[in-house]
Amino acid sequence: MSHQALIAILLLSPFVGFLLNGLRYRSQNYVLAGSIATGAVFVSFICSVMLMMDLIAAPADQRRLTANFFEWIAVGGFKVNAGFVVDQISSIMILIITGVGSLIHLFSIGYMHHDKGVTKYFAYLNLFVFNMLILVLGDSLLTMFVGWEGVGLCSYLLIGFWFSDAAKAAAGMKAFITNRVGDAAFIIGMFILFFSFGTLNMYELNALAPTTVEASWLGAATLGTLMLFIGATGKSAQVPLYVWLPDAMAGPTPVSALIHAATMVTAGVYMIVRLNPMFVAAPNTMMIVAIVGAITAVMAATIGLTQYDIKKILAYSTVSQLGYMFLAVGVGAFGAGMMHLMTHAFFKALMFLGSGSVIHAMEGEQDTRLMGGLKKYLPITHFTFLMGWLAIIGFPLFSGFFSKDEILWQSFASPRGSVFLWVAGAIGATLTAFYMTRLMALTFWGKSRVPKEVHPHESPVIMTIPLIVLAILSVVGGFIGVPHLIGEYLGHIPNYWAEWLAPVIKTLPEAAAPHTATQEWALMTTSVTLALISAFVAYRIYTSGKGTNEAIAKAFGPVYNVVNNKYFVDEAYFGGIINPLVKQSQNLWMYIDVNFIDKTTHVISDMTKGAGSLARSFQTGNMQQYAMYIGLGVVVVLTFVLMR
């Protein structure tokens, strides 16, 4: 099959799934709906695999399969095709999307079987996959943007899936609008790039990217990429636009796994990697990206420390991990960023699904304070979750270890890195270990705090299979990109990942400062040790039941309060932007529209009417008055005629 056809099937299969399910949205046959949806995504997965194989078969410099379906927009010099491309970067993405996606679809069949809107749910999920595929396959920024907004839309629909709950509907809205803020910047970024380089096609853009780095802040590449990055902060939940993601947990848990952990939220990272030559040409942007990434990584992790909602913890964890990815791409470690993207997709999808399994078992309960000791009720879930936990805290040789370690190392060693970034990353890693352990302890270990009326039970097979598959991937996924140092040590495992990506990754033009293997070992050991220590501490605290709110609040005082309230960011947004905006809009309406423009109109009309009344008042009915007007008129006219 030609790769055009493959790409077409790849794209259209979920869409067809969407249509099939969407048109029979009333149906509550979850098996049929789930089969259609999962099948659709699985077909895509097959296509992805076939495409990947084609790609692998091709010589390294020709690994690019394009499909131009039609000319989408063509105005003047601006031409955008409905063109899709599978290359080293997007092939990874489509595999993740369709692969992880299939698993999550599968999981959903079990998870959503009792829901009335199950068919609608699968339709949305398929639509999401379709859009996500457009996002990653699009050959130009605009096609990417189509998917970019499309996934936002699906995210909106899925977060607000249980719309009768006002809070959930609001969360969906919040996600969409926050994303829109980023999208607006994304649009501006596209304009800057288009008007500077004359194209939005990402290959052409990369080819046209300035060869000398832009020192100025006002350079086209810098401004353009900066704007695109702001777009990415919206989509990928980075500071300051991350606020929607924790709320997005209002959606069904598989959705959180698919959209808010594995795929959509990584779109920003993907976009940066995609445009890496452009970013490389803009060191200022990259600096911002790295700093934002580092701040996000730490900040979200701190918030994660205080949360009790199982999904919220995972959500902040996701934000934090996304911060790592940005940190990576910000220091020029695009490969590492992509790698972490992939491993994160595995272990975070796993953990979300695991949490879904837990919630399923807990009959909808999400508060970890009411869990504990679930290990014995949910052995498979616990085990798979454990694998995810090990991966995320960067336990050596688990997938997270490789990617996270590479990021930390690069943040220190890259010419665009710095020791501060490493410190931030290390703190983040330590905190991650802490709160993830806390999550494990509160949920699975320790004493059971499960209410009596709830009877936890292991999830059905259809839900555990995906968990198991993902657990395996979480464990071994890292070996695809074993860092050179460790690879040497483990027995010459080549870094497939770096090789694969090398043709599409632009190396930083700056010469890297010389670093020794000792340095790398030392840093790696430090961070891993810190993480393990913090995990142990957390284990001790939380399995012993000491880690209650009150105790911690006492220990940390106001700091806890601030962190527990998520640094009051939501409050600041509402109090500082949204509420005043609504209030001022009200004022605009009342004062400008009603009291100024309309009033002016009314005043004019009243004045006319007043003039009319005045004119009427001269019409007294007294004939002599009229005669007087005539006489007066004659006099005035004569005077005027004579005098002037």
């Binding site: 008055q625 004659v634 006099v635 004569l638």
Partner: protein, 178 residues
Amino acid sequence: MTDAILFWFLALVTVCAGLSVILMSNPIYSALSLAMTMVGVSALFVTLGAYFIAGVQLIVYAGAVMVLFVMVLMLFDLKHEIQAFTRGKITGAIKIASVGILAGLVVGAITLGTKAIEAAKATEAVAGKTYDNNTMSLAQNLFLQNVFGFEALGVLLLVIAVGTVALSRSRGGTHARD
């Protein structure tokens, strides 16, 4: 000199009579004063050499029209009017002022205008036009030059006659003082 004295005398009579027309509060006196004015005007016509017109003025105006007025007044049987004049002080002032200004303006224009006419006369020397100031030339002019106007006046008078008769015959009213 005699014509001057005559003019001034007649002017005085006419103006006084005219003033009493508008100042007398009893309409009968006004009517009589108007008749006096008509006579004065008629005399002025004589001083201007328009004898026929003077006669007509006496007969038609002082005779017929004034009799009509007086008759109607008698018919109405109006007593001395308590409110002969309009009351409004401001409007009254405006009215008198506007009349005064108008008179002033017109007099000014007359002063300037007659000079212009005389100047024009001096240059053009009024060729051709002789002022055949007799009834015959008047009649000739009326019946030849202005015969259409004359006929139209006839129609007008007929219309008036029919109209007034019709008006007086039109249905009686029920509208009371309110």
